[in-house]
């Protein structure tokens, strides 16, 4: 049972690995020729991809123009058998994208606070009864009063109530030679409005018997930023050299689509920039209603990706504490104790935005090879041209007549759509 699952995982990993590259070439061909690649971790796949492209995390340049690359990872938390496994994959992608956006936000500006403490002590400085006495609260005073009365009663009976405590204190003081305590706290906080960040490629890997992960390589460039602003401001963008129709650039193999998430910018046959958003969802039950709901959820995920591309507020806070304490005793014994904690919180919010001209160009579904559950997918597109067509129709329906075209906005980086690689030309 273990062997087939391992093999299956390897195939899935290989498929998805290839799928990632496939976004830029012809995915189906790559899958067919490289299906025998052995299973790799998502981190390895991401590293290999970045190396192959010559990219590194952070700022890069292409033709003298800057762009930013961020990598993020998300764990698929649901077990394979769980009915929510498919949605958990989607959550893993969203978490990976959030991770990438958080890194981008931290790159833009981050506030860092650190606090370090190191205490070394030899011998025993005795009790601190006076300080304790000062800090007595009413409750503890009542307790002390009761204890004092009890102690008095014990003494009257000829017993020493402090004996055990005093002996323990003396024993410790006698044995402990020194103590070494170290603590470091690091806190970071960043908040930024992230606009125009797209998925360059996504990777999915599910090791045999372990939890799967999704990794994304996300990218930001001034051209993507201009496209994002076009969504909110309705500005037009200049056209470049045309490529294949967008539908033909989308992988036809559902297994490739399985590992394709988020928004990608492409160039259509007229040389116009088009956003292509990929959404996925799982069905809660096997009923047709549930399937319809899953298709709708997939479409919503795609629309949410377009909305997020148009800009969202991302806030990330991280806290890490590392502490250790070592105590040496007379008999050459040593006690080591470590305490560490780490937490990260990311919040992203994209407020209501009315987006006209989103078209659903494909609905697809297929069985997930490992979970044996159906994945429902939707692919939506948005472009300034589509928005203008939709607005024209909206105006016609409202009797406002055809609006004057918006002036073309020349972005600072321009558009030179002459490269061989489709996706690279688009950002």
């Amino acid at each position: 049972m273990n062997y087939p699952r391992t093999l299956l995982a390897a195939v899935v990993a290989a498929t998805t690995f290839c799928a990632a590259y496939a976004q830029e070439a012809t995915p189906e061909d790559v899958v067919a020729t490289e299906a025998a690649v052995e299973s790799k971790s998502v981190h390895d796949m991401v590293d290999e991809y970045l190396n192959a492209k010559g990219y590194s995390e952070g700022e890069n340049t292409k033709g003298g123009k800057p762009f930013y690359v961020a990598v993020g990872y998300g764990v698929i938390q649901a077990p394979l058998e769980n009915r929510s496994y498919i949605d958990s994959r989607v959550n893993a992608y969203n978490k990976a994208m959030l991770d990438a956006k958080a890194k981008m936000a931290e790159y833009l500006e981050v506030a860092i606070r650190t606090e370090t403490e190191h205490d070394y002590a030899e011998g025993n400085f005795g009790g601190n009864e006076e300080a304790e006495a000062d800090s007595l609260s009413i409750t503890s005073k009542i307790k002390s009063l009761i204890n004092a009365k009890l102690d008095k009663a014990l003494r009257e009976e000829g017993l020493d109530p402090d004996k055990a405590e005093r002996e323990a204190r003396e024993r410790i003081a006698k044995k402990q030679l020194n103590s070494d305590f170290y603590k470091k706290v690091i806190s970071t906080a960043a908040k930024a409005e992230i606009t125009g960040m797209q998925v360059m490629c996504a990777f999915e890997g599910v090791p045999a018997g372990g939890k799967g992960q999704i990794g994304v390589v996300a990218i930001w460039s001034p051209k993507l930023q201009a496209m994002a602003q076009s969504i909110s401001r309705g500005t037009r963008l200049p056209s470049g050299v045309g490529k294949k129709p967008v539908k033909e650039q989308i992988p036809s193999d559902n297994k490739v689509l399985l590992s394709t998430f988020g928004v990608q910018q492409k160039i259509d046959e007229n040389g116009d920039l088009v956003l292509v958003a990929f959404g996925q969802a799982g069905a809660v039950t096997d009923s047709p209603q549930s399937a319809n709901a899953a298709r709708n959820k997939a479409k919503m995920q795609a629309m949410a990706a377009i909305r997020e591309f148009a800009g969202e507020s991302v806030a990330v806070t991280s806290d890490a504490v590392n502490a250790e304490n070592v105590e040496e005793f007379e008999n050459a014994a040593e006690e080591y104790e470590d305490v560490s904690a780490y937490s990260q919180k990311i919040k992203a919010a994209a407020e209501k935005m009315n987006i006209t001209g989103i078209a659903t160009i494909k609905n697809w579904d297929c069985k997930h090879p490992l979970a044996a559950r159906t994945v429902y997918g939707a692919i939506c597109t948005w472009s300034p041209k589509q928005a203008i067509n939709a607005k024209d129709m909206s105006n016609a329906m409202n009797g406002a007549g055809t609006p004057q075209p918006q002036p073309v906005v020349n972005t600072t980086d321009g558009i030179q759509n002459r490269g061989a690689d489709g996706d690279e030309d688009a950002f």
Binding site: N91, K297, V339, S340, K352, M353, I358, N363, T402
Partner: protein, 485 residues
């Protein structure tokens, strides 16, 4: 009669020619739609020389249940798609992620939480969107909705051209043939054509609300068309292939008739009733007559009316400037107010100079003067009523949920109902007002749909919205639903 109708078609304005031109390109659209269905493509936006901008949407027709309902549901689904493209998808996203780990000696623990909420709302008025047929692909049947810029222009032109030509709308209705049942398909195709005729003139209000929070999803779509069919003639009908029945009809929906009669529009909003209040019997009768002619349901019982038509008429004596004879003029003002909220919906006053009468005795002069005043104010009132009814259909009207037996214990439930109401398509801006001493509470909101639809949705929503104390519905009318706790 058929000849007469066809001659009318030949005479209608260029706007109809545009619509016919769109139909002429129909086979291409269906081929496009079939390709879309085969490729899993739901919507396509484009631009052509013939039509300007266009949107094609296809929606799968369900296979179980009442066929007419399934077809209608598919049409609504297709309209929702077009409305989302044209009117915009209002998208809101919120994500929260937190991860932590801690280690204390040999004990270690990690935790991770993630939540995502996506809300999408659609609110648009579609005009000129037509169901152009059905297509089959992959053992499924899809209804095809086409919206083009030229059709929308034509629809708006028809809408705004009042009274110039008698108007006739030519539409094509389609229905799938299921199990060889031609009669049912024919009936469904005819019904579809009627709906489209209405929609092409008044438009369709489409509102949808989709929410997705992790694996929970809910969607509500509301679409309504209001209108008035006068005559209906079938020009051509027959099977298209084995699976579709096509009916080409001419529907006589004269533009001016449609605009004069608000009967259908008001019926679509529910049973909206008016009550006329006027101290002058003659003026009152004339006002009732005018509003009834315009298709308004006028009731004698004030308590059953949602809107009050308050008329104030007075007569003033004047002297003829040339011959010094006695005359009478009428000062007439008409207001329509929402009976429940007191909100003024429209107000109009006559031009008193045009109501002067010098013939006959005082009684006769008053009658003549009142008639002149009514005639003069008629056009103004009609125009404003037109604006009012269209506003009610398009952007909503004030509506209420009324609760009795209210106490402060129900405050949280009242708020939960208001929040739930806001999620019902066609309902927005709910405001609560509670008076625990009097034991009554009200939620006032803007409503674009009929109250029967609202109360049905409300029943579902209250069940799922976490309302701790659910009130019982005890009645409803055109603008309100009553509950008791």
């Amino acid at each position: 009669m058929k000849k007469a109708v066809l001659s009318k078609i030949a005479a209608i304005s260029a706007v109809l020619t545009i619509m016919l031109a769109a139909e002429a390109a129909e086979p291409d659209w269906l081929v496009t739609a079939k390709t879309m269905a085969e490729d899993g493509e739901q919507t396509r936006i484009g631009r052509s020389d013939e039509t300007g901008g266009y949107v094609i949407a296809i929606a799968k027709i369900g296979e179980t249940g009442d066929e007419a309902e399934m077809l209608n549901a598919a049409r609504i689904a297709a309209k929702r798609l077009v409305a989302g493209i044209v009117g915009g998808e209002n998208v809101e996203v919120a994500e929260h992620f937190s991860a932590s780990e801690s280690a204390n000696g040999d004990d270690a623990a990690t935790s991770e939480t993630y939540s995502q909420s996506v809300k999408v709302n659609v609110d648009a008025i579609l005009k000129g969107a037509m169901t152009i047929g059905t297509v089959n692909a992959d053992d499924s049947c899809y209804t095809v909705l086409l919206a083009t810029q030229k059709n929308a222009d034509a629809s708006v032109a028809m809408d705004s051209a009042v009274g110039d030509n008698p108007n006739v709308v030519k539409v094509v209705g389609f229905a799938p043939i299921s199990g060889g049942d031609i009669a049912t398909a024919q009936r469904m195709a005819s019904e579809s054509a009627k709906s489209q005729a209405i929609e092409q003139v008044l438009g369709t209000a489409v509102a949808a609300a989709d929410t997705s929070m992790n694996d929970k999803a809910s969607a509500k779509v509301f679409a309504s068309a209001a209108g008035f069919i006068k005559q209906f003639r079938v020009i051509q009908e027959g099977k298209v292939g084995d699976a579709t029945y096509r009916v080409e009809v001419v529907i006589e929906v004269a533009k001016d008739e449609l605009l004069k009669s608000y009967k259908a529009a008001l019926e679509a909003l529910g049973d909206v009733r008016f009550h006329v209040e006027c101290g002058n019997t003659f003026i009152r009768e004339k006002v009732i007559e005018a509003f009834s002619e315009w298709g308004c349901n006028v009731t004698e019982d004030r308590e059953y009316a949602q809107y009050l038509i308050a008329c104030h008429g007075s007569f003033q004596g004047v002297t003829h400037p040339a011959n010094g004879s006695d005359g009478t003029r009428c000062v007439l003002s008409i207001r329509i107010v929402d009976r429940a909220t007191g909100r003024e919906m429209l107000t109009a006053q006559n031009d008193t100079r045009k109501s002067v009468a010098f013939t006959g005795d005082e009684t006769r002069r008053r009658r003549l003067s009142a008639e002149k005043a009514m005639k003069e104010i008629h056009g103004t009132i009609h125009g404003k009523l037109d604006e009012m009814v269209r506003g009610m259909v398009a952007s909503g009207r004030d509506a209420r949920l009324e609760f009795d037996n209210y106490s402060e214990a129900y405050a949280a439930s009242l708020d939960a109902i208001a929040a739930a109401l806001d999620k019902i398509p066609g309902c927005e801006a709910p405001k609560t007002k509670a008076d625990a001493e009097r034991g009554v509470a009200t939620i006032v909101f803007r409503c674009k749909t009929d109250m029967d639809t609202v109360r049905k949705y409300l029943n579902d929503v209250i069940d799922t919205a976490g309302v701790a104390f659910k009130p019982h519905q005890i009645g409803f009318d055109a603008n309100s639903v009553s509950f008791t706790w």
